[in-house]
Symmetry: C2
Subunit: 400 residues, 2 copies
């Protein structure tokens, strides 16, 4: 009988169906709250902290990622949170409610920070973002980052750039104080949203080779370097089809795909995971952002000679764009081959849909000439007769 | 100096920039309201009705399409309209306003009929659709057609299926009466929306070979069978990349592309038009519909052995789908190669974006295994971690 050892939060209604009892009915032995001490690969056994040893034929690491914690005093103060899992979310909500929190400081400016600034504003909290860099959403071009900044300000989220954390203290008034190299910031809660790193510790101890990124190295079948041991999700690497490198991209949709691929290979219905193109998106207030493939920096690192352009237009036919919504798309392509290398988009609507279309173009290695004349489902409510996808591809092609 | 001979409506603000005077400034001699009698290909001259003869080195036919008119008495009655160009739209609006029209009968159930039913309802007209078939939007699966029908009814547009036109008469009360094989229908205006056919008459007279569809035959460079003569837009054929046949698909985005390709080839910057995959979309009230590629019937005709499936899901992550919006996607694939052949989608949102993504997949010949694990820009406001695109491709793959 297969074992699943992990941590499932039981007190959430939606997870009731996944209790150990339910799993047992389907022949899967689920062991919750069961820390693993180490893997004895010689005897092919999983050694639990309670002394028990579970034998295995095949082992799958799905140990995920752990949050990056800043090395500063005070991160254990009550009211300092991270957001990694459902338990964290419940803890944050409960704390805000019980303590009557009014003011939040978010550290970081990635998509978790953006989404949380919207969520906290939505429940009426005064929300401030403190960030070491200049603009939010640093994966995106600074022209787009500046628009995200405007959107935050429009929604009364203040954004404080260029600050390095120094310490956190509980102040006499009961509030938390975040000290930085440029002033201090006060809040009832502090949310640290500084990204994650792969939790590859146990897999590496078991002899699985880590990749250059520090995440567990796997092949296209999710096999690690050790026979009979697989890894999936945020703890392992994934193949990037455009850079042709193994990368660490801890996103839920990729984890899902890797899980299914490993499951099929273990279960005898072979599957090969072809990798990713680096597609990603998030929403913040009335803005949506999508990105796919490589930006100029990543393209150069991967050996390409990139050119890029940003084009601005309308998500629908101009005549129907009554709200004067703008849509911006950045295209990055390789000068030598003319192939698309990446794209980014921003707008009130229509940005992520276009990034998905361009992700399919990237997936199959289309060049700008093809994309500039590709057949899309034109109707005025959904774009112009030349969509901004066509326009951007043609403008960049001319430039190169 | 190049000539443009055609009909541009001058009294619309947005077209002011395109008056003959403006064109002349850029070195193009525009002749409006200048009917052509015939083409003297021997002498390479365009013979105008006024007797003038214009010499040419290169000739481009962009004669467009003409509406299909039913062969019944009464189509010339005042108040009977078609909608082909801006002039028609202005005439319809003016007539409705001046006569104080209250009730409209639309004949046909394609995308023009759908869009007009919404437009006429929006100005408060009682609107009725009379159609020879069973369901609206016949390019789409009947399961989707039934949803369009519901949407029409929800918006108080009545849909009368299974009616063949017999005649139109002006009734004593001043209204128009449409007689059919199953009853008569009364309206202040009747809009005939029965599709179009290519206007290839003059090109054929000039010796350009028509294709099987009756539209002007062209190659990938928009050249007709006669040296120095090109054709673009609704009057000519276009290459369908999936069926590998030359087809007649009179849509504005295709016409734009063909025009640019012909222009480049004539101007000495060669371009090859790679063709279409049959992408199309329309909006009716709160529904959007998109389709691309082939349905089962067209796939069989093109020599494929198709399988298909319809999957239903949510346009956003389930937890965020507060309005309980449904999204449906139909997938058609070839049993032999596993390649996608076509797709259709319907929903309140997210349908056309997904059809564009699937159009890019079709363009590059992706198979279901690839599409089922393709990288899309996942975030809960834009889909599930397994998007309905992944789910549909995997479900159909299992079925085959």
């Amino acid at each position: 009988m297969p074992y699943y050892i992990g941590d499932v939060i039981k007190d959430e209604k939606r997870l009731v169906a996944r209790t150990p009892e339910k799993f047992a009915e389907t022949g899967i032995n689920v062991r919750l709250h069961t820390p693993v001490e180490e893997i004895d690969t010689g005897k092919a056994k999983v050694c639990l902290q309670n002394g028990e040893k579970l034998p295995y034929d095949t082992l799958v690491f799905g140990t995920g990622a752990v949050v990056n914690m800043p090395d500063i005093p005070g991160i254990d103060e009550e009211g300092v949170f991270v957001l990694r899992n459902l338990r964290d979310a419940i803890d944050i909500k409960t704390y805000i409610k019980e303590k009557g929190c009014k003011k939040a400081v978010i550290v970081g400016a990635g998509f978790i920070a953006m989404e949380m600034s919207e969520a906290l504003s939505a429940i009426g909290m005064d929300t401030q973002i403190v960030y070491r860099g200049k603009l939010p959403a640093s994966r995106w071009d600074s022209e787009f980052g500046a628009i995200v900044l405007e959107e935050l300000e429009k929604n009364h989220v203040s954004f404080i750039p260029g600050k390095q954390l120094q310490s956190i203290e509980k102040s006499p008034n009961g509030r938390l104080r975040l000290f930085t190299n440029g002033g201090e910031f006060e809040g009832d809660i502090i949310l640290l949203a500084l990204g994650v790193k792969p939790d590859s510790r146990m897999a590496v101890q078991a002899g699985c080779k880590p990749g250059e990124t520090g995440a567990v190295g796997v092949d296209h079948y999710q096999k690690t370097s050790r026979d009979g041991i697989y890894a999936v999700g945020d703890c392992c690497e994934v193949y990037h089809r455009i850079s042709k490198k193994w990368v660490h991209v801890p996103l839920g949709d990729i984890a899902n795909k890797q899980g299914r691929v490993a499951g099929r290979n273990i279960g005898g219905i072979p599957a090969r995971f072809a990798g990713i193109v680096g597609a990603q998106s998030f929403k913040v207030f009335d803005l949506e952002l999508g990105a796919t493939g490589l930006d100029e920096g990543a393209a150069k690192k991967a050996g390409f000679d990139p050119a890029s352009v940003i084009v601005w237009g309308s998500p629908v036919a101009g005549s129907l764009n009554l709200r004067k919504e703008k849509l911006g798309i950045k295209f990055v392509a390789d000068k030598k081959s003319g192939k698309l290398l990446g794209a980014q988009a921003i707008g009130n609507s229509g940005a992520v849909g276009r990034i998905n279309t361009l992700s399919a173009c990237l997936w199959s290695g289309m060049d700008l000439d093809e994309i500039g004349f590709m057949d899309l489902a034109y109707a005025p409510p959904f774009g112009g007769s030349w969509d901004l996808i066509h326009i951007g591809a043609q403008v960049l092609r001319k430039k190169m």
